[in-house]
């Protein structure tokens, strides 16, 4: 059994959205999610906008407050309860868990040199004591991200999207974290550059033994980088499985529809995709029963009344659908 680095149990994140003095409305962006992320793995989180994937990632970094449930981080050195972290323990967790943002154009201060951008976490967190020590650490990390000394003296505007994303990665890595959340980190990049950044992330992960949570809406990118994938819909996990298993036999009708909606590179596949009608409902006005029933072509009365729970088959593949077994037999993927 491999070690679990992050274990979330019944995790929910709610945001207050108005209401009155006596009534408080809460938007539940993440609802009762349980996940375990193995140490040294590349964990993928997919879903449409509004599915809560970013909020889940941030909750695990304690960048948004966890309103219900638990999340634990244990890397062998420390064992932390993420929801209740504060003071020095929270500062310590910040060194251990880091975030890489989506947009490399917005994430880097235009007024700082690349060296200062990468060095900032070291100085803020008090990791290095002298300037020499800081410089040595910055150079070491920069080299890992294929940035040379010349690059360190320049400002971010002089770099292309791929190079900027490498700077963002270097900044996230400099404090020596164990856990990194990469939120749509290649979505803003051009196709020819995207593969380069993905390869770099994979290489760093295996060299440094890091654990990644890779949040993406792009299933083909997730398929190529992640070991394990979780699919979210309207704040809930609907399916989770080892990558190969998931792509070989998706069980949830939503996962199947997502796969089918990826535009195929074969011009002769036109019109073959099974189409999902409608759009993701608003999280303030959630459907009863299974949250997906409003768009599911296979929904029956049970789906409208009763919310399905994640059920597994012992192979690590879990799905929350009342009818998945029946559908696997009767409806070809």
């Amino acid at each position: 059994m491999t070690d679990i680095l992050i274990r979330a149990d019944g995790l929910s994140v709610g945001f207050p959205i108005g209401g009155g003095i006596f009534r408080k409305d809460v938007l539940k962006a993440v609802n009762n999610v349980s996940v375990s992320i193995e140490k040294g793995s590349f964990f993928g989180l997919v879903g449409e906008s509004g599915s809560g994937k970013t909020t889940l990632g941030r909750a695990l970094l304690k960048a948004v407050p966890i309103t219900e449930g638990h999340a634990r981080y244990s890397d062998g050195e420390v064992d932390l309860d993420i929801a209740s972290l504060e003071g020095p323990a929270l500062k310590d967790y910040r060194k251990r868990a880091q975030l890489i943002f989506q947009d490399p154009y917005a994430a880097l201060s235009p007024r700082m040199t690349v060296r200062d951008i990468i060095a900032e976490p070291l100085e803020v967190m008090g990791i290095t004591r002298t300037r020499e020590e800081t410089d040595a650490r910055v150079r070491e990390i920069a080299a890992k991200c294929r940035l040379n000394l010349e690059h360190l003296r320049r400002f971010p505007h002089a770099f292309s999207g791929g190079q900027r994303q490498r700077i963002s990665i270097a900044r996230a890595l400099v404090s020596g974290p164990q856990f990194i959340v990469a939120d749509e980190s290649v979505a803003a990049l051009d196709v020819s550059i995207q593969a380069d950044v993905l390869n770099l992330l994979k290489q760093i992960q295996s060299e440094m033994g890091l654990t990644f949570m890779f949040i993406s809406h792009d299933l083909s990118v997730v398929a190529h980088t992640c070991d394990h994938v979780a699919v979210m819909y309207l704040g809930r996990l609907v399916e989770t499985a080892p990558t190969r298993q998931l792509f070989a036999g998706p069980r949830h009708p939503y996962t199947r529809a997502l796969f089918s909606a990826i535009p195929s590179l074969d011009p002769d596949d036109r019109g073959k995709a099974q189409k999902l009608t409608g759009e993701i409902p608003s999280p303030t006005n959630q459907p009863s029963g299974c949250k997906f029933h409003t768009r599911c072509p296979f929904a029956v009365d049970q789906c409208r009344a009763e919310e399905p729970q994640l059920e597994g088959d012992g192979s690590g593949h879990e799905v929350s659908c009342h009818r998945w077994k029946e559908l696997m037999e009767t409806v070809p993927a």
Partner: protein, 331 residues
């Protein structure tokens, strides 16, 4: 004659503080009526600038080359797009015979006007419809693009609609003037895959129904494969390959097109390594001499690549490529 728009020798530069920046370099192509052309390229390739040139919509610091010529064939005869100056003349390429759908539907609707008011305003500008007629047509168009309860939705503001719905409303608005040419600039990029599939289907239905030409600008080759009849591939302002969609995607000739297709993560083969196109896209301020792609090309054939810009060569009747590999091999 079946040609809808004819672009010849389009070179477009922008005057900036750092000097003249070339965005489009000697691009020529034609589009037939009822044809869907995919215009593919990465950021900085000049695809959006090319499309905007068709509507004479580039910023005032744009400099067109003297021999650049864009001809739009309308029912009232050919229009020389680049010679249009007055707003009244420009109407034909700006919402009249040519319409455009933009990438970010939230940014393309005025936030403080209802969807309906904007749709009616443009209809009245381009036709002699009464307000009531324009409203009826707008409701009908919203209904056509699959917006339920169109009579009510028309009085809502853009922020009240979801992303997919906004993009549908954008399409309804662009099509309500019955344009002959629709330019769609990354119309599905900001949408989720499931909604993207719906919008692509909708656009295909509408092409069949209205029989218009579409220029579909995208960086997503999958989207192109599912929509376009022909593909033009651009890199750093040059048109480097063009041909029927099947040929370009199945047997790409230009090393850049080959690299672009190889860089895509494929779902059929999860073991295949991801192969990026090496290097970064050069800044438009430092355009490489010769073939603009030679700095990243793995198949450089000789000194010509870094000194002489390759001419477009015909591989067959419809498939063309601008690359020295084929000129020196004598294909």
């Amino acid at each position: 004659m079946n040609t809808l728009i004819d672009v010849q020798n389009l070179t477009l530069q922008f005057r900036t503080d750092e000097g003249l920046v070339t965005a489009v370099d000697n691009v020529s192509f034609t589009l037939d009526k009822g044809e869907v052309m995919g215009l593919v390229g990465e950021s900085g390739s000049g695809k959006s600038v090319t499309a905007k040139a068709l509507m004479h919509l580039n910023a005032s610091n744009a400099v067109y080359s003297p021999d650049a010529k864009i001809t739009l064939f309308t029912e009232d005869g050919p229009v020389d797009v680049l010679s249009l100056r007055k707003p009244a003349e420009l109407k034909v390429v700006r919402g009249g015979a040519v319409s455009m759908i933009f990438q970010e539907p939230m940014a393309s609707f005025a936030p403080a006007m209802t969807i309906g008011k904007q749709m009616i305003e443009q209809l009245q500008l381009h036709s002699d419809m009464s307000k009531a007629q324009a409203r009826n047509l707008s409701v009908e168009m919203l209904d056509r693009v699959g917006i339920s309860d169109a009579g009510k939705r028309i009085d809502q503001y853009a922020f009240e609609l979801s992303g997919g719905m906004r993009q549908r409303a954008m399409i309804a608005m662009a099509l309500s003037t019955k344009p002959k040419l629709l330019i769609a600039d990354e119309p599905t990029t900001a949408l989720d895959v499931t909604i993207q599939a719906q919008v692509i289907d909708l656009m295909k239905d509408l092409v069949d129904e209205f029989h218009m030409g579409i220029i579909f600008i995208t960086h997503d080759l999958g989207v192109v494969a599912q929509t376009a009849d022909r593909v033009n591939v651009m890199y750093l302002g040059r048109l480097i390959e063009e041909g029927p969609v099947r040929e370009v995607i199945r047997t790409p000739k230009h090393p850049y097109t080959q690299g672009l297709i190889a860089a895509l993560p494929k779902l059929e083969d999860l073991d295949a390594p991801l192969t990026p196109v090496p290097g970064d896209i050069p800044s438009p301020l430092e355009r490489p001499p010769g073939c603009v792609f030679h700095t990243r090309c793995g198949q450089v054939v000789g000194a010509a690549c870094s000194s002489v810009a390759p001419e477009e060569l015909a591989i067959d009747d419809t498939h063309k490529v601008a690359c020295h590999i084929y000129s020196e091999a004598g294909v």
